[in-house]
Amino acid sequence: MTHPLKRPDFDVIAGWMKPGERVLDLGCGEGELLMLLAARGLRGWGIERDPGHVLAAVENGINVIQSNLEAGLAGFEDDAFDHVVLSRTLQTMRHTQQILAEMLRVGREAVVSFPNFAYWKNRMAVLNGRMPVSEDLPYQWYDTPNVRFFTMLDFESLCAEMGIVIRDRQVLDERGALITEEPNFLGSLAVYRIGRGG
């Protein structure tokens, strides 16, 4: 996982959270989001698999737990956190439904961000016969950590199937600007705030 310096989705995510709340960041990298949230008065814990990132997160003074997300969130209590965040990581995971269910078990609500495969430039790339490479999909097909390729419509349909409620949605273009029209066509990165249905 790379963590580009510019993370406009962090502003969206932070905007959904209030000081004093507790956040679990899955695949927290070097702890960039948790540092931003700590500066805004939230309390955070991160999960990270990569030793280099764990070390950097410790250097950054972040609570980081070295663990593989594919093993789920066993050991964490139900409703332990106000928010569970999975930013730009869902597309790298095999156990998609399991992690979504686990996030909404241990968190009151969850935030998921992912590159939208239906972004118009990605569609163009495929129409031209090539797999897309962009700001939000910055890998070649042979070295990508991404194993799931899906669109906003696909994600929303899975949420409906799993009884997950979409509470908020912000969509960004490649430059990080907010998109309001035709999001599944003009949006490169989608950020969702989701909760348990019923």
Binding site: V54, V58, G61, N63, V64, A80
Partner: protein, 375 residues
Amino acid sequence: MAERLSVGPVTPRRIAFAEPLPLAAGTALPHWELVYETYGTLNAAKSNAILVCHALSGHHHVAGWYADAPQNVGWWDNMIGPGKPIDTDRFFVVGVNNLGGCHGSTGPATTNPATGQPWGADFPVVTVSDWVQAQARLADALGIDAWAAVVGGSLGGMQALQWAIDLPSRVRHALVIAAAPKLTAENIAFNDVARQAILTDPEFHGGHFYRHGTRPTRGLRLARMLGHITYLSDDQMAAKFGRKRRPDAGSYGFGVEFEIESYLRYQGDKFAGWFDANTYLLMTKALDYFDPAQPYGDDLAAALAQARAGFLVVSFSTDWRFSPARSREIVNALVKNHQQVSYAEIASPHGHDGFLMEDPYYHTVVAAYLRNITT
């Protein structure tokens, strides 16, 4: 041994306590002494002190060497020193030999004032909590109100955990390395076989072997051989020894044939030559009794709830004595309480002994964590 990064020549010190120490067993030690070493300089605010707790066979000689015995290097010298992860340019580091030990602190070989004879088997069974209370008296004597950190591996990590629970206002950070929140039945079983090896040695004399001018070296040797197996990993043993045989090995007999046999016997002999059998019994018993959650309805999170420390928990991938899953129990309890905790699982071939080895990732994580501690 003029290593660039060593604290250099060190001198052990001794401190006597006249105030009796009440013990978990119900008795008290009337008069007792601790042997300890210090490295680095205690700052004016006395806020830069780190306590290093030792494991089963450890002691106060944690770093540096002795002027009259330069080959006698401290057991955690790769971790502690100027510029090392536990940086003595910044921290004042204290190593202490625990009560019941055999390196100078009051223990089974010390004279029992009631009898004028060595305590031997009559030395009271001491617990991890007892050690914490004794170490706290040493902190009092050194003028240290609160440790910047309490650090330990294995049984030492258990002391760090117990410190955070028993004396929460006196521990700002706890580094719990290659430890577990309590022993499993399998752990206790291994310890009991080790104890049985000692207890059934005819030279043990019910723990009063000193007065017979002998030592139960056969039992102690077996205990160490068994223990040593649990400190290594299967992978590492396979890589280091495999099924290799001694060049002079016979066959179809019971002599030393495989290299692993030779290695274990050597380790057993070496250990039995200097360690005290009664101390071995006491240390394994302290391990067995360690269970900080027990007074809290077996709820580890409830036990840890009062801790004020930040925690760094570290485990080693091939440690099967106290596996990563056991460290995760500690981490999960702390997260449940929304306490400050980081956790690193070190990929290591060295089994439980990994905590003593020099590993770049392990050492940089410890260094990074300690750098963020204010003094």
